[in-house]
């Protein structure tokens, strides 16, 4: 039985692993921290999996566990930050798809998002994943109105960071 549970979990996570990668991308800024957080989220998902009923979508369920781990449970890894990798890993943007200005703009955008606090990042993450305000509010435990207000403020904050 346990083996069966394990197999189904691993298969589902392998399929949906990009959700975890994306959480890690917003909350960490170097490869080792990314891998560390990825592992912690995987462990938390696995621990919670026996209670996963399947009445929610696996991916929806993953958003919660992933964000909760990043915001609340995860203790930053003590390894030293290697800023080199930030360049190569975070901004691996295919040259042919973007012109220079857009690439530059994206780079600045990611840097700006990294300056936001943990809660703001969570809102941005769910927004980028095209979640509606109902789901955002349920995931974070705030009202829909507050989620909307906060999202507008974050947009303004990003504007200020980008155009000081």
């Amino acid at each position: 039985m346990d083996k069966e549970l394990e197999h189904s979990f691993v298969a589902l996570l392998e399929e949906h692993q990009n959700i975890v990668h994306k959480v890690c991308r917003l909350y960490t800024n170097h490869r080792e921290a990314h891998n560390d957080l990825f592992q912690e989220i995987t462990i938390q998902l696995w621990k919670a999996y026996p209670k996963f009923r399947g009445d929610a979508k696996f991916s929806t369920w993953m958003y919660r566990v992933g964000l909760n781990t990043a915001i609340t449970l995860y203790r930053k890894s003590k390894r030293t930050v290697n800023t080199y990798e930030l360049e190569t890993f975070q901004f691996k943007i295919k040259a042919e798809e973007y012109d220079d200005t857009e690439e530059q703009q994206l780079k600045l955008l990611y840097q700006a998002v990294h300056q936001l606090n943990d809660i703001e990042k969570a809102l941005v993450f769910l927004y980028l994943e095209e979640k509606d305000y109902r789901e955002i509010s349920e995931t974070l435990g705030i009202s829909e109105v507050n989620a909307r207000v906060k999202m507008n403020r974050i947009k303004n904050k990003l504007k200020t960071i980008l155009n000081p």
Binding site: N117, E130, I142
Partner: protein, 215 residues
């Protein structure tokens, strides 16, 4: 174009950029131990319960306590001990109940609240112990003054010299000083451990609360 819209466009395109974690790697990962703060809070809390329980056992065995046992103090010490254990059981039950309630699939806010509630239980237990310690010290002091023949003689000698007030004051100040140092060291450790462990959680919880207050 809106800044976030540009980001969103890129966000969707980048799915292929992440290193693929194989099923095999996932199997390995789920065997590893979590390093979440909940685990650390659980371990530290158990140590706190153990420390306080252990401390009372340890104090019972000291020479002072044995000397104290000879005196007629059961009428006070037995109820105090029983109350101590009943309250330990009560706090431990609360702690366990709150701890079980922590679930990573709750909303971010509820999860944070449940963790903080668990912490609060242990904190209250520690505060209770500190108060209990101070009260016990006062009771012990009272019994000593009342029944310890050596101390009574000293008090009488002091009274003969007209320094009885000074004598009482000195004894009480020394006991209070030792207690204060002890409490100070404990508080320092608490500040150190929980300051580090819960700083992020507290900050994020405040941020969520602030959202609620503003609108």
């Amino acid at each position: 174009m809106d800044e976030l819209e540009l980001l969103k466009k890129h966000w969707k395109q980048q799915d292929t950029e992440y290193p693929h974690v194989s099923a095999n790697d996932i199997y390995k990962m789920i065997l590893k131990r979590s390093s979440s703060i909940v685990k650390w809070i659980f371990i530290i809390s158990l140590l706190e319960f153990a420390l306080w329980t252990g401390l009372s056992f340890f104090l019972k065995d000291t020479k002072n306590a044995q000397h104290f046992d000879k005196m007629d103090s059961d009428y006070l010490l037995i109820p105090l001990t029983v109350i101590g254990y009943v309250i330990l059981a009560y706090f431990f039950y609360l702690f366990y109940k709150n701890f079980r309630r922590i679930s990573v699939t709750d909303s971010a806010k509820i999860l944070m609240e449940n963790i903080l509630r668990t912490r609060r239980t242990v904190k209250n237990y520690v505060i209770f112990n500190l108060v209990f310690m101070v009260v016990s010290a006062m009771v012990v002091l009272y019994i000593e003054f009342d029944q310890d023949t050596a101390l009574i003689q000293k008090t009488q000698a002091a009274a003969a010299n007209g320094e009885v007030f000074m004598f009482y004051a000195k004894t009480i100040l020394i006991v209070a000083g030792v207690l204060a140092v002890f409490v100070g060291i404990l508080l320092f450790f608490y500040w150190l451990i929980y300051g580090l462990l819960l700083r992020k959680l507290n900050r994020n919880y405040r941020e969520l609360k602030k959202l609620e207050m503003e609108s």
